[in-house]
Amino acid sequence: MDFITDALVIGLTEHAPLVLAAMGFALLYRLTGLINVAYAETVTLGAYLGMWVNTTFGLNFYLTLLPAGLLAGLVSLATYLAIFRPAKRRNVGPLELIIISFGLSIFLRYGLQFVFGYEVRFFEVPPPDTIRVLGVGVGSFRILAVVSVAVLAVLIYWFIQRSRVGLQIRALASDEELAQVSGIKPLTVTTLIWFIAGVAGGLAGAFYGVGSSVRPWLGWEEFLFILLVVLVGGAKNIRGVIIAGVATGVALAALTLQFGQALYSRLALIIAFMVVLKVRGNPLAEAGKV
């Protein structure tokens, strides 16, 4: 029994940002059909921006979330307007778009080191209070992360599935031309999606950053799992992504407890995801192409 509760609590609290980041990535992937490798750097950027606001202005962690999320969203939006939109207009192919996003990812990852310095940085926060949940000690920031991720997940889910703009997003993703005929403006909706995805990624990054350290490779280390969760959880609806994200977090924690080494749990999960992808094939070829 201890093993199960430990795995559940640790998995949920430690890997809550993964769910948030995967949701942002899934929105983007669903709408644009693009594997945006540079999303990893949106996550990293969220951590760096949060750390920068936190250390320069002395804001407490909860207040830094707002500027970190918004700024990461704006950067994500800027990359769309400066790079991906012009590239799409030039009819760049799907493989070339992935390589472009890979180039952007590298550019940002190393460029950040010029702006924020080479060394690993940390948030300046008081040591978190430890709260006992089901007999497992958990830091207060991680509790906050779980709560905010849950709230944001419900908000994004509601926004996509229930609101009017969400309906437009889904319409645009499934049939662009039909959506345009119905009076939906692709630019507005696409802009909004890049912004929301950026905010989600940035917040996830800030939670990752405060939980460990702020380093240029932070987003890249998590990116493979974001990608796997989205591809396997299905970009069809957000619910699948949330379920896959939570399951991945719990599985990572359980396997780490089992093997005693975090890397082995990652190894096992990568292989499991690959097997699922192979067995199921990739039914997402018809995803939208804005």
């Binding site: 594997i35 490798v37 790079i83 012009p86 590239a87 030039r90 760049v92 799907p94 493989l95 070339e96 992935i98 390589i99 472009i100 890979f102 180039g103 952007l104 990812s105 590298i106 550019f107 940002l108 990852r109 190393y110 460029g111 080191q113 010029f114 080479y118 890249w220 493979l224 990608l227 796997l228 591809l231 080494q261 890397l263 082995y264 990652r266 190894l267 990568i270 292989i271 995801f273 690959m274 992808l277 192979k278 094939g281 990739n282 997402l284 070829a285």
Partner: protein, 316 residues
């Protein structure tokens, strides 16, 4: 032979450039012709390097050199080829997204295994004990002759790639890259061709990795980072990913410019070159990828030169 002009730095710079040209040439077959976006190059390269190094250093060899070296080299190549078989089988019928995930995931798996299997690979610290399989007397002589061997190997690879361009096999690869379902409906074995291409390409990458391990003497997870994949991709894309000489031109202009011209001959302050230069290099490589693919997607050399048969058919 007088080798005074050839400093140790220059040998290593040239060696790395030739190595990246080799990887970019293999990537050219996969990405430039057959349209398979392999983002896990460093995984195949690294598995060849580690399989070779671990067997050579750790095994109890009952007979003398050069057999242990040659057997280990073959083992590294075969291990990478088998990995290519597995990954190729996994991704050959997936679209670009599935291929990215599969190859990136594989590179991560190799990196994880290199770190966790401490008894074999030395873990995060790394493992030493690799050396040249011969001794000509001086260290520089050993290094220079190893460089010459790798140049010959990559030269042969260049010749092979040029041959592929003029062969029916090359036309098959090009048709796979242009429209795989069409090639399949015309009776071409698309899955098998992609799989075989992946096996051979990966084995080649593994062989190059093993030869790199010999030159650097010391294997560590730091050597199998994403920078290797990036260097090969940026060289190929800049030079022209569908041209035979694209890999050569591109790698010379990117890795060659940074690792030889700027590192050795540009008068830079020491503080800059130590920390900022490698970072600046990657930043510029990333920017190069974006700019080239936006404004000149086929790279410096441009459009593919088709062989005589194709030109005659299209009336050029």
């Amino acid at each position: 032979m007088n080798l005074d002009w050839l400093s140790s730095f220059l040998i290593f710079g040239l060696f790395f450039v030739v190595m990246m040209i080799g990887l970019a040439l293999l990537l050219h077959l996969q990405m430039g012709l057959a349209g398979i976006g392999n983002f896990g190059i460093v995984g195949f390269w690294g598995i060849g390097m580690y399989a070779f190094g671990v067997l050579w250093v750790r095994a109890d060899w009952p007979f003398g050199e050069p057999w242990p070296f040659l057997i280990s080299l073959a083992f590294g190549t075969v291990a990478a080829g088998l990995a290519g078989l597995l990954i190729g089988w996994l991704i050959a019928d997936l679209d670009a997204d599935g291929i990215v995930v599969g190859t990136l995931g594989f590179a991560t798996v190799v990196l994880i295994l290199a770190t966790t299997e401490k008894s074999l690979t030395g873990g995060a610290y790394g493992m030493g004990g690799l050396d040249f399989p011969y001794d000509v007397g001086t260290i520089k002589g050993n290094e220079a002759s190893w460089l010459a061997i790798v140049i010959v190997l990559v030269g042969a690879l260049l010749f092979y790639v040029a041959r592929v361009h003029r062969s029916p096999y090359g036309r098959l690869l090009i048709s796979l890259g242009a429209n795989a379902p069409l090639a399949g409906s015309l009776g071409k074995p698309t899955f098998g061709t992609k799989l075989w291409l992946f096996v051979v390409g990966s084995a080649g990458m593994g062989l190059l990795g093993a030869m790199y391990g010999v030159m650097v003497h010391f294997l560590s997870p730091l050597k199998i980072g994403i920078e290797i994949t990036l260097a090969a991709i940026v060289g190929l894309v800049l030079g022209g990913r569908s041209r035979v000489w694209g890999a050569v031109v591109g790698v010379l202009l990117t890795v060659g410019l940074f690792d030889i011209v700027i590192q050795l001959y540009a008068p830079l302050p020491a503080s800059l070159s130590a920390q900022a230069l490698p970072v600046l290099r990657e930043v510029l490589f990333g920017a190069t990828l974006i700019v080239v693919l936006m404004f000149r997607p086929l790279g410096i050399l441009g459009r593919m030169r088709r062989d005589k048969l194709m030109r005659r058919m299209h009336g050029e």
